[in-house]
Amino acid sequence: MKIDPIHQFNIEPLFTLGHIGNHTIAFTNSSLYMLVAVAIISILMLASGTRLVPGRLQSVAEISYEFVASTIRSTAGAEGMKFFPLIFSLFMFICVSNLVGIIPYTFTVSSHLIVTAGLALLVFFTVLIYGVAKNGLKFFSIFVPHGVPGYVLPLVMFIEVLSFFLRPVSHSIRLFANMLAGHIALKVFAGFVAMLGFSLGTIGWVGGVLPLALTVALYALEILVAFLQAYVFAILTCIYLNDAIHPGH
């Protein structure tokens, strides 16, 4: 009995879509779960009715709406609401794909760095392009904090510029690493149960109660992490966008 905690992250092409240069573009299991996430969000948001007294599905849709809207208003102000569709899409996409990925035998889209990096770069360039388009060169004043003595200013500016360009790195790795580590830990602890049972027989199965309990606890934690990482991703997006909207912080 061999348990490979990495196997769950494999990308399996389901069919080929075409070629770009020498890259084969395939519809993979990752694509399938992206589609699942988009489908779930669409059903939740579109099939939930617009009754005056909301039902369960409509309540979930409206709570999601209000949750993201209030997050944007509190971090980026009323002007941030022009990015509502983007942030709502990001939050729902990450949250739903994370929650779907927690179900055993499914695939977690955000456990791949390339996906989280794609989303983080989307945010990065949105901030950069909108910030420059709206504020011109004044946007770069975010690199020059107020009230810093002249002699340390070059150092502070260097750090500010560096941290600005490292944002997409931390933004993407945070989500990726959380999902990856959580799923590996789950798989390892769940694997212990099977390994103990199959190798030691009855004693092993009895001894497997401990890792099983840990798996259950970890599973609950992972559900929290799945939601929390989506929230963290969304709120960081709001904070970065706030720099573009109000650069003179």
């Binding site: 770009i20 694509s31 729902m92 989303l119």
Partner: protein, 188 residues
């Protein structure tokens, strides 16, 4: 991106990792660069689709529902406030009407009571006058009757005394002495 693992696509890489167990070198799927292009293309397609659905359909719909509810609640509250004001005004009007009616009723009551009192006084006075007159007349009658009766009593007493003396003595007494005796006993 994909040059290092040219031919090693997903399934091959997957089989490779499975066979090797925890081999983390080039077999670690998240760092398998040959899959990057496929994932990025899928992500771009599905995220754009999601963005379009969210921005064009989902958010206007859900936001509209929330706004419609908000408007409905505000409208209902305004209406309720208007109705409340109306009922308060009606209550105030009712109370002032009631107060004025009460004052009027009190005035009417006082007036009619005074009138009734005055009338009753007048009637009583008239009645008292009548009664006093009747009383005086009756007293006069009584007095005259008594005088008459008293004179009759003296005659009867004198007759009776003459008869008694005659029965007892067989002598008819003389009238003057009988009268004197009767007068004396009446006075006595």
């Amino acid at each position: 991106m994909a040059e290092s693992h040219g031919g090693a696509k997903g399934p091959a890489a997957g089989a490779h990792t499975e066979a090797d167990g925890g081999h983390h070198g080039g077999g670690f799927p998240p760092f398998e660069s040959s899959t990057f292009a496929s994932q990025l293309v899928s992500l771009a397609i599905f995220f754009v689709v999601l963005y379009v659905i969210v921005s064009k359909l989902a958010l206007p719909k859900v936001g509209g529902a929330i706004e419609a509810r908000q408007n409905k609640i505000e409208g209902d509250l305004t209406e309720a406030q208007a109705l409340k004001d109306q009922s308060e005004a009606a209550l105030k009007a009712y109370e002032s009407e009631l107060a004025s009616a009460r004052t009027r009723a009190q005035a009417i009551g006082n007036e009619s009571r005074d009138k009734a009192n005055a009338q009753a006084d007048a009637e009583r006075k008239a009645l008292e006058g009548q009664l006093a007159a009747k009383l005086a007349e009756a007293e006069k009658t009584i007095a005259s009757t008594r005088t008459t009766a008293m004179s009759n009593v003296r005659g009867i007493a004198a007759d009776a005394a003459g008869q008694i003396v005659q029965q007892l003595t067989g002598v008819i007494p003389d009238a003057a002495s009988v009268n004197a005796a009767v007068d004396a006993s009446l006075k006595g």
